[in-house]
Amino acid sequence: MNTLVIAEHDNQTVADATKKALSAAIALGNDVHLLIAGENCADAVADAAKIAGVAKVLKADDAAFAKLLAEPLADLVVSLADGYDAIITAATTNGKNFMPRIAALLDMPQLSDITAVIDANTFERPIYAGNAIQTVKVSSAKKVMTVRATAFPAAGEGGSASIEDLASTGDKGISEYVGEELTVSDRPELTSAKIVISGGRGMQSGDNFTILESVADKLGAAVGASRAAVDAGFVPNDYQVGQTGKVVAPELYIAVGISGAIQHLAGMKDSKVIVAINKDEEAPIFQVADYGLVADLFSAVPELDNAL
């Protein structure tokens, strides 16, 4: 039996998160097929065929899949499921949205957010915001799993997969895409950036984030935020790092004016090096920081900017 991975893509290239989920899929030991569902996704299919470890790319090119809405996508995947004993995707907001729908239609349990493959049936996953790690064993006929991308390396280049065109399973029309408000930024994407600089409640306003953005641009970093900063309306929701936001694990994470609630730590404590800048020396963020600076961020951050 084979493993099916459901890809995310922008019609041009396969998302980094998918390449990381592929590493988890490859670790199961069976042939891996990658599903590219979308509208006008031929370039993404060509990109997918070059990924090392992908045996076959399944192409489902139809308007029904343009936005990866869960209802039509789940019907498509269920129609393919007979040939697979594992169905995997990255635990992005898309994956979290459609995967449980697929699992339930197949009457299979799902493992969310796996962080390690112990053997073909045994996996690790974080619970309680990462304050405990569960080792779980599944014996269901099909393994349905989402993968925490930061826990796996990206699959490399060098493959030459065959491509199979799929007939569309259509759209029952119970859900409809209306529109999107996406954050436009030249900076790297938060979950794949090598350096992340995040601001918290201590930033005091959205305007003040410009001092972080200036540092970010010098470092080629992404800008993130704590829940408090998002709730206060300083920055949009897609900046949020934490238990229920994005999970990041960059080489360097700089937390500015962030106290360090466990829900925030859940989203960044696997970063290689953590720097905390906070004027409260008792802030819990210092308990996980490799380098802590007790200082007023409004003088420290511009100074950092100048020093770079």
Partner: protein, 250 residues
């Protein structure tokens, strides 16, 4: 419009949990329990729709041990009209929860089910989507705004790149994200009133659902501990250490 709101009793979000020394799970003895924060947001949204005249009845349902009754009472104190407790001491997995909720939906025929997007204990983020699948209903997950209309509902969703708006035919499933609303505190008179509201008691057998676990928990361990590092005095020292000690800046 009739709204069903499933609510879960979990460890309070402020509690720092501890793993049991024998690695069989998390120690829940004598730990403060509360309604899952995302479920509170779901209750609040349903009650607001009722206050706005959009919803006619709000039913809170919980699946869990006898003490889950307290969680239902919290929902009733916030404004839900009545409760249903499906009592079980099994730690029910999301798929079985969805099957039980499907039974409740078939009995109650709500137009909308609002759930929290995830519970902060298992962090699964599955139940709402699974319920939608089993019912053949559309799903609006991670909602930051909902707008019911005649026969449909607009849902603005928090997604990785920003916000997405979709339109779902009713009946539908909505799961809540953090920014949907700020839940109220129940007032004392409402807490007293909630004590008189009815709670129906059921069991999984009433719905013919097998709740035995399908996923074997081999062990539960502490995550690797991250040691606190050093304090630096100046930005210069920080930049120097990042370049020459940590090697993360060039």
């Amino acid at each position: 419009m009739k709204i069903l709101v499933p609510v879960k009793r979990v460890v309070d979000y402020n509690v720092k949990i501890r793993v049991k020394p024998d690695q069989t799970g998390v120690d829940l003895a004598n730990v403060k329990m509360s309604m899952n924060p995302f479920c509170e947001i779901a209750v609040e949204e349903a009650v607001r729709l009722q206050e706005a005249g959009t919803a006619t009845e709000v039913i809170a349902v919980s699946i869990g041990p006898a003490q889950s009754q307290e969680t239902i009472r919290t929902a009733l104190a916030m404004g839900a009209d009545r409760g249903i407790l499906i009592q079980t001491d099994v730690d029910v997995e999301p798929l079985a929860i969805a099957k039980l909720l499907k039974g409740v939906v078939e009995a109650e025929s709500p137009d909308l089910v609002i759930l929290g997007k995830q519970a902060i204990d298992g962090d699964n983020n599955q139940t709402g989507q699974m319920l939608a699948a089993l019912l053949g209903w559309p799903q609006g997950t991670f909602a930051s705004e909902i707008k019911p209309e005649a026969g449909s509902i607009g849902v603005t969703r928090e997604i990785d790149g920003g916000l997405q708006t979709i339109k779902l035919k009713l009946p539908a499933i909505v799961t809540t994200d953090l920014r949907l609303n700020e839940p109220r505190y129940a007032s004392l008179p409402n807490i007293m009133k909630a004590k008189k509201k009815p709670i129906d008691e059921k069991t999984p057998e009433d719905f013919g659902v097998d709740v035995s676990p399908q996923i074997e928990i081999v062990k539960v361990a502490e995550p690797p501990v991250r040691e606190a590092g050093v304090k630096v005095e100046t930005i210069q020292e920080l930049v120097d250490k990042l370049k020459n000690e940590a090697g993360v800046l060039s």
